[in-house]
Amino acid sequence: MEGFNYNLNHLKELEAESIFVMREVAAQFEKPVLMFSGGKDSILMVHLAVKAFHPARIPFPLLHIDTGHNFPETIEFRDNLVDKLGVRLIVGSVDEAISSGLVVEEKGFDASRNGLQTAVLLDELEKGQFDAALGGARRDEEKARAKERFFSHRDDFGQWDPKNQRPELWNLFNGKKNMGEHFRVFPISNWTELDVWQYLAMEKVELPSLYFAHERPVFERHGTLLADSDFMNKRDTEVPKMMQVRCRTIGDMTCTGVWESSATSIEEIIEEVATTRMTERGGRTDDKRSETAMEDRKKHGYF
């Protein structure tokens, strides 16, 4: 066949796969919701959702679990994005969950609200009667996530049973479930950190300033740089100093490490990511609690 060249580059192929999965969710479930953290992966998810349903609006709301310890930049970015898209935003508040007694605050220097998010997330999913929660988790992030399906079944306690997952073949996604059960769906399962950055650059997607190098007070703990804020319990030896840093992942301020970097553009970030020798979650203290910290949290309903 002459001049026969029907090839998609890898980013367009990943895009096509993710769009297919999102449309499958809209078709198979009654009440989906998109979990939005404000990080680059959930920004990518929103961008893909816009593309999947264009020119209609995204047919599901966004759900943000606010630990109360977010970077202020994250909240500002979130609110602007929601305004622009005209989608509904639901905020699940860990602060409120603590005052109502649903969860109990951790104590100590390494206290984090990361674990508390799970209870609040499950509570919000139940309140909203959502039967599918779309998340931006990727298989390359973490070894337990490498075993995750696109359509991941959760029982009526929101729990994941990694040893008894449904086989997933071709592009046939089985979203059948009983009352009270739900699914977590991960449309960007096959993307790597580098793919995400390359795609965001190609698509010229707007990102929070936290991802680019900026000056801020930071201090070191367990070999990780953490951004200083009022939420942090510091030891006397932990003295903040000004440094030029950026975030590789954005989560709760208490557990998201920052990295020394001079990357001020997305192209510089790609270069940094392509040559770095550490995983992006290497700065996440929530993963460092044990060798199987992620699997343990996921089994209980963490995303």
């Binding site: 349903f53 790597t192 190609m202």
Partner: protein, 418 residues
């Protein structure tokens, strides 16, 4: 890497417990700099804590607690690496006998199957099983790595012997493209770098093969098939009459102006526009996700299919299917299941179990109707509604089905339409 020009290649690895599969994957990841220092450090620590010698690279792929405890791979693990030419997705599947279902799962989307043979042991029962599954799932390319060549003194004779042995049974299989490479995953011979120890071998290295094997025709670009996945209706003032059929092209090439036929109605229309968020495009082909707009206002919904008049799929309720069974509960003769095919789901009944296949000998047993987990059989089934399908050999998307247990909602079987 030049992101705009790199392709995506999916491959599956299969091998027995000790044939060096983890070492090979570890080497590919390591040499392409896809293993990070903190991952390696974590693995090193764990290996040390368990008193293992050296760094156990299998710990990189075995992510679940129970896998790490038992030292075996239970589930398909996906690994990623990239070179300047391509991005690779590895579906790493366990080699144990009881895990055929994982191999089938990993194989369903693969472009290439990588089969490892221990040069000292030659072709084993397990090798035959892997090759058979690769052919059953119609993986377009098969690459056979004869590993541990260092342990047979890089013997050309031994390599040729194994090659011949493999070919002797693979001619019975339906595989189009088989390639052999003598390697040592441990020493690195012919994995990324050409080996000085195998001067008699004039082929390429494994990585070169993976980077260059032609995957451009792995999709079917001939027979136009567009299963409607979702109907986009904005209902806004700007797009009042917009009715778009969203889906992923399953075969062929669609262009604006094409005369199309709609199934099941049999009505005709024309493609008015192929819409995407980035604007209308001039052609759509697999595996693109697009939205088709038609000239006429017709009733079309999820599960319907857009095709060409002069190139129609099979339409019918009686199918002959090769099934791989996945569940503890055996297949029920006369049993009813939910069947998913493209974007449709219907109910079906297993009318007859034609034969059970012994995947080691390829013997067809017509008497044994007891189909248990990991068994492969041919069945006749009838659906409640007509399906629009092709033979799996012709199109892996329109020729595949899954069966779902109506009581538990579990995916209990995967099928390839004959």
């Amino acid at each position: 890497m030049d992101a705009k020009h790199s392709e995506l290649l999916r491959f599956t690895t299969a091998g027995s417990v000790d044939d060096g599969k983890s070492t090979l994957i570890g080497r590919l990841l390591f040499d392409s700099k896809s293993i990070f220092e903190d991952q390696l450090e974590a693995v090193r620590e764990t290996s040390e804590r368990r008193g293992e010698e050296g760094v156990n690279l299998a710990l990189l792929t075995d992510g679940l607690k129970s896998e790490r405890e038992q030292g075996i791979t239970i589930d398909v693990a996906y690994r990623y690496f990239a070179t300047p030419k391509r991005k690779f997705i590895i579906a790493d599947t366990p080699g144990h006998i009881q895990y055929t279902r994982n191999m089938v799962t990993g194989a369903s989307t693969a472009n290439v199957a990588l089969i490892l043979i221990d040069a000292r042991k030659g072709v084993l029962e397990q090798t035959r099983r892997h090759a058979f599954i690769a052919s059953l799932l119609q993986i377009p390319h098969l690459v056979v790595c004869v590993n541990k060549m260092d342990l047979v003194d890089y013997s050309k004779e031994r390599y040729e012997e194994i090659k011949e042995e493999f070919e002797k049974f693979s001619y019975k299989l339906d595989v189009k493209d088989v390639h052999f490479i003598p390697i040592s995953a441990l020493k690195g011979d012919n994995v990324v770098e050409r080996s000085k120890n195998t001067t008699w071998y004039d082929g390429t290295t494994l990585l070169y093969y993976l980077e260059n094997v032609h995957i451009g025709s792995d999709h079917n670009f001939i027979d136009a098939r567009f299963p409607v996945q979702y109907v986009v209706r904005p209902n806004t003032d700007d797009f009042h009459d917009y009715r778009g059929y969203a889906g992923r092209v399953a075969g062929g090439v669609f262009k604006p102006g094409d005369k199309v036929m709609l199934l099941p109605s049999g009505f005709f229309s024309k493609i008015k526009q192929i819409d995407t968020f980035d604007g209308p495009i001039q052609e759509a082909y697999p595996p693109m996700s697009v939205t088709l707009l038609l000239e006429d206002d017709l009733d079309l919904s999820r599960g319907d299919m857009i095709v060409r008049e002069n190139n129609q799929p099979e339409v019918g309720q009686d199918l002959e299917v090769m099934i791989c069974w996945f569940n503890d509960r055996p297949m029920q003769q006369r049993g009813k299941y939910t069947l998913m095919h493209t974007t449709q789901d219907v109910r079906c009944v297993i009318k007859d179990i034609r034969y059970k296949l012994d995947i080691n000998t390829l013997h067809r047993d017509q008497e044994d109707k007891n189909i248990e987990m990991n068994d492969i059989c041919r069945v006749a089934l009838r659906t409640t509604k007509p399906l629009f399908y092709d033979a799996y050999r012709k199109n892996r998307i329109t020729g595949s089905i899954i069966l779902i247990d109506e009581a538990t909602n579990e995916t209990v079987g995967a099928g390839m339409i004959i």
